[in-house]
Symmetry: C2
Subunit: 413 residues, 2 copies
């Protein structure tokens, strides 16, 4: 073979860094990987109207939410805070609602249990939507974080994120003259000094994991400082998460390790999945409007047909301010786990939460939050749609549910 | 179509749980996913001679190490401990070496900075191997964790994990009659009550991320309580991590969220990657012995040829007790980043750590640990092999390095 056509020999001698090319390596394989990673970051940033350096890739939605919450609270563990901690009033205070995803709610409870934060859980109204004024009422001098989900995972209700952001802005405006650190103490050397000094708390975080396919993700319009996404809820996306982090927001890494992801998320980047995520998010953005309209029609059709066909059911959560792909009902007296299994036998995959603890299944804190008088025997049944869902699927599902209930009523009445 | 040949219709109405089937769902898609997950868990358990319920899947090696370390320390944040914490002596004490991977070393430093633990870093000897007696000397009444890596990621030295386990066992034996909680206080309600009462500290953790392809992973023989693995270092494995957790060891989850992975790791399981991991680990176990022998021959050949061809180099780390796929050298006076770039231009992908901080590149704490007199201008160059590496690759690499050095010497001498 003439020398000019010879391809340059490629010998990979960096298996200890990673089996595949590692974006942190400086050889040409590493540089290629780095380029791809940064392109993906830009695609995600564009989708959120953010800057690339404001996008942190994580392992998933649970980690994004934990990083957002723990990462805001942890700087206060360093020494100046520790000194202050002996006084009761200066433990950081954080606020959320009573219908958040467990990755937010349980993280709040962990921090409370570990005595690292005081928490306030603002109850939602009976329609599953929180009143922004009630959030504002909870904010105090020591509040470092407000976390309210964009859309609920069980009942699909959409929270008034912009209005909450506005309430927080107003609160900050009135407080501007006060030096935050006089109240809470300096966060210490761990946090970047300048942003901390200038940033006015509380930070506003939203868990947008369920919202990604249907709602506007423009972080400027939403007025949020932190926003979580997960690939597991996007068709074709990889199993990674994203945390949008406004540049000025002080955040600590919660893992010790390397300097990846601007130091906020150590560990070799999951490049193949990140690339899939970016591509899938681009597609979501393109079809969002059309798909939202299509599914909202199906959802309303589902609810209407259900209430005509199946007499004794209760719809959970606001019927208008909800995700277009979410239907959630309670069938009184019939265990919802049983309904899921019966539906599954007919080929319909749905999801249940029971009102009482049975086996592995957890009580639904969401259903309890919107219906204080719910009976122990009542559960909830969730149908959630995607791109492949058709009107025929819904007809079949309602028919199946109707047959199942006719059969079961004999036993449970 | 006659009814008997009709396939049952399948309608997925659980998109909000996950785009793909979620092992936590109770419908038949979920049950399938759950079965696959548990099969994978058993395969991994078998490879380690552990029980399936002792295998926790995480997002990667960095998370496994963080979970092992933070998860042992955190229960002491609960109230009974907090009361005790006012006395100086009872903050948990944790021990590691000075050449650990950043995901261990930086996590230790974070916990120290946050005042959640006191730390001891035991220095390794000049050959890059720690003396087990020196570990034992550091253990005291308040020591809750010893973490020593199985094999080093930079210089490939293998640590005497079994001997360290033996020293810890001896220490425990002498202490058996003493009630641990008289010293450190009860860990509180967060930890499982019984194991905590019976478990004798310290817990012994090893980071086996670099060892997985070549060394014995039998946790019984090793005598470890916690062991970390990462898919990113195994050919064909998915991007997930594993933490082996001996059943009796008390560990807290460090993420708030759902009940996945026995509560130790909330968040939807990354099933596709977990399945790849299990399969790849099975293959590793099968070819380990043969591949280890093959690569050890290549490694020794590489070192011998290097020292014949390139005069002025220094090998880093013990030449015998090291991974068969690791060659690490220092070329005095020549920046190692430059060597990586020159090698890369010739098609050879290697890795560098500089002795001085330059741009994004970190100082190698490992090279500094084994050579206190190293000059600021000296770095280190790592070649790490894998299944595709051949003798011809090594010949080409040594030839290339020799050419590069001949060229560069003019400038740097």
């Amino acid at each position: 073979m003439p020398k000019s056509t010879q391809k340059i020999r490629k010998i990979y001698m960096d298996y200890a860094a990673s089996i595949e090319a590692n974006p942190s390596s400086i050889h040409s394989f590493g540089a290629d990987a780095k380029r791809k990673l940064e392109n993906a970051r830009k695609v995600v940033a564009d989708a959120l109207s953010a800057r690339p350096e404001e996008i942190v890739f994580t392992s998933g939605g649970t980690e994004s939410n934990n990083l957002a919450i723990q990462g805001v609270v942890y700087p206060y563990l360093t020494s100046p805070y520790s000194r202050g901690r002996k006084k009761e009033g200066v433990i950081p205070h954080i606020i959320t609602t009573n219908i958040e995803h467990p990755s937010v709610l349980e993280t709040f409870k962990l921090l409370e249990k570990w005595k690292l934060a005081r928490i306030s859980l603002v109850p939602v109204e009976e329609n599953g939507i929180v009143n922004p004024k009630k959030i504002r009422k909870e904010i105090k001098e020591s509040t470092v974080l407000v976390s309210v989900m964009y859309a609920n995972n069980e009942i699909g209700t959409i929270q008034p994120v912009r209005e909450i952001a506005k309430e927080i802005r107003h609160w900050k405006k009135n407080r501007k003259k006060q030096n935050f650190h006089q109240v809470l103490g300096s966060p210490g050397p761990r946090a970047p000094a300048r942003p901390f000094e200038n940033f006015l708390f509380p930070v506003f975080h939203t868990d947008a994991v369920q919202a990604v396919n249907y709602l506007d993700l423009n972080v400027q319009k939403l007025g949020v400082d932190l926003l979580s996404l997960s690939g597991s809820k996007i068709e074709g996306a990889g199993r990674v998460g994203v945390l949008y982090k406004k540049k000025s927001v002080p955040l600590a890494n919660i893992f010790g390790g390397g300097n990846q992801e601007f130091g906020f998320r150590p560990g070799t980047e999951n490049l193949p999945e990140i690339l899939k995520f970016a591509k899938a998010l681009q597609i979501v953005q393109k079809i969002k409007e059309k798909e939202t309209k299509r599914l909202a029609v199906l959802r309303d059709y589902f609810f209407a047909k259900l209430s005509r066909t199946v007499l004794d059911i209760r719809a959970n959560g606001d019927l208008k301010n909800r995700l277009p792909n979410n239907v959630n009902i309670t069938v009184p007296n019939i265990p919802s786990d049983l309904l899921v299994i019966e539906l599954s036998a007919r080929g319909v995959m749905a999801s249940a939460k029971s009102a009482c603890q049975s086996g592995d299944r957890k009580v639904s804190h969401v259903i309890k939050a919107i219906n204080k008088n719910i009976k122990e025997t009542d559960g909830s049944l969730r149908f959630s749609f995607g791109r492949k869902t058709t009107k025929a699927d819904i007809d079949y599902t309602v028919r199946s549910l109707s047959q199942i209930l006719t059969k079961l009523k004999k036993w449970y009445d």
